[in-house]
Symmetry: C2
Subunit: 346 residues, 2 copies
């Protein structure tokens, strides 16, 4: 019962305005049926008292917490490596905050059990109205769980196997990789390697397949190397292996920028010139890529727009009337910088 000092309740406002509780409630929730004069008095009283409805009381009464949950299960080092989420979240925030919604964030280690338990707990405690889901997985268990829990959720990405899970994604999710293939081909590369991320991610598989297909149409078969994690150490090891091959690739495409940068570092350390002897492409367009020397050619996706779009979609599901326009998410696009160049003469 700490600090209840000074905190006004709806009754204080009603008293000050000389009206009843329900009048205050109606005014503040814009439910009409109140004379302009009374409404003005109420608003003035509320402002004077700096009264804001208690979230707990509202939630208890109406089963709406105005809070959405997001649980991210990634090891700390992967989190440290990649500013991916922060941008997405800040995009979502732009939509949530104006409507009075908050974001309950849980950053777990890479522990599927704990992850599921967290969803369950948040739902059972009724701490949130719905969830934002990221990193669509093959055989994703979250959709079923959340349906079970009666929770609304919007996935950022492509649901596995056409699951009806509501989701948002870029207007042209594969354009970036397709353009990458084209770009490399145009530069004369024929021995191309693709270092893909963990195979349990839907986008990993889709991008790799799109890339392979695109090359195959030009009669080129890329070397595929799969990392078990989105991991810089693995990127380095794989790159070293690739560069030791007899017919080593003249271009390597990585699943994300961090891996690309690690791979590029490995190549440079081995005395291989980028892009002179080896071209490197990333994915995500992290700011660091632009400042690196040589600057990284990569695929950009508008993470803030994706986060915002997901928030809007979720708010719609939650019955919010003014979540704003469902924003367009720009296509992914290849950003050509310095790390790709003409294939070295055979």
């Amino acid at each position: 019962m700490r600090e209840n000092v000074g905190r006004p309740t709806i009754d204080d406002v009603a008293a000050l305005a000389g009206v009843s509780r329900s009048a205050v409630s109606k005014v503040m929730n814009e439910r009409g049926g109140i004379s302009a004069k009374t409404a003005a008095a109420v608003r003035e009283a509320a402002a004077k008292l700096k009264w804001v409805p208690s979230a707990a009381a509202v939630a208890l009464r109406g089963a709406r917490t105005r809070s959405v949950g997001m649980v991210i299960a990634r090891s700390t080092d992967l989190l440290a490596a990649d500013p991916y989420f922060a941008v997405m979240i800040s995009g979502a925030e732009q939509v949530l905050a104006p409507l009075g919604y908050g974001l309950q964030l849980h950053l777990l280690g890479d522990d599927p059990e704990a992850e599921m338990a967290t969803y369950r707990k948040l739902a059972r405690e009724r701490r949130v109205d719905g969830f934002l889901l990221t990193e669509s997985r093959i055989g994703d268990p979250r959709f079923a769980l959340l349906r079970d829990l009666g929770q609304q959720a919007v996935l950022i990405g492509i649901p596995w196997q056409d699951d009806p899970q509501p989701h948002v994604q870029s207007a042209a999710p594969l354009r970036g990789v397709l353009d990458t293939a084209r770009h490399l081909l145009d530069l004369g590369h024929r021995r191309i390697a693709y270092v893909s991320g963990p195979d349990d991610r839907v986008h990993t598989v889709q991008r790799r397949e799109a890339f392979v297909t695109a090359l195959r149409e030009s009669g080129v078969t890329p070397t595929i190397a799969g990392a078990r994690r989105f991991d810089s150490l693995e990127a380095r090891t794989i790159t070293e292996d690739l560069l030791r091959m007899p017919d080593r690739p003249t271009a390597i495409v990585f699943a994300n920028d961090m891996m690309a940068l690690a791979g590029m570092g490995a190549a440079q350390r081995a005395g291989i010139d980028v892009p002179g002897s080896l071209s490197v492409v990333g994915y995500d367009d992290l700011p660091i890529g632009e400042w690196h020397y040589p600057a990284l050619t990569t695929v950009a996706q508008d993470l803030a727009a994706i986060g915002a779009a997901a928030a809007v979609a979720l708010l719609r599901l939650l019955g919010e009337e003014r979540p704003g326009q469902q924003p367009d998410i720009p296509p992914t696009r290849l950003v050509i910088r310095e790390s790709t160049g003409t294939a070295p003469p055979a």
Copy 2:
């Protein structure tokens, strides 16, 4: 009134266990005074129904939301550049989650007004029990605001002007920069530049002063360049300017890794060899620094430990009895890698 289907209340549990509401409450909150037999029955009933107390009801009743707030006011591009916060948050989460606490995160743009408004709103709505504060600022307005609002808060960093604001910090916050000065001196560097962050941060000023003092003791006066923001573009521009000086520095120390990497890129692009002709030092020890070529010499601080310590301290303030030991935060430490080397002959 959505989805109330299936959600059991405390009364359902009481009924199933054949006891009263209060008995259930006492058992679940371990408040004693209940026979072992009854307690067992209650627990079983709760488990069977998968009952978890409604957060809203608990909050309304007891004024404890079991939720802590964190508001971060940074522009999106700075967020994108720097995985700093994610690690700190995941450290805090390790402490919060086991005690049933959640984290309400707000990622705002760099807008002081909006930032203050967010604190106010969160406090007035009673959405959180307290706050975690980051990035201690000169003349920090948050301490007063939160005291005004009757909110508990723990600052991560050093409060401005010995404000009594509760805070946590590394065991030896300046050891890293001191060791950096020593390291550079040992390598024979005498023309040293220090690219500092925005001057409104307490740590920026402290680190710079510690660095300058340490060098001065050896009769060396560093060139100071101040960036207005923690910004890669500025880092690059400043580096270019520095390298154009008649007696250009042989070593540059940056306020953080992202700036250091950007600066190193600028130097390399200008054809300057690192570390042959220029040594570079960062701060933070982001993973990328390790994979970069040359790998970045930098100061490491254990962000996860800092986040965890802050969470423990806050939980203490909130009267939690078992927030765990107040963890030690390891000293900051210099990690010497490839980007620093012997000063080139004069």
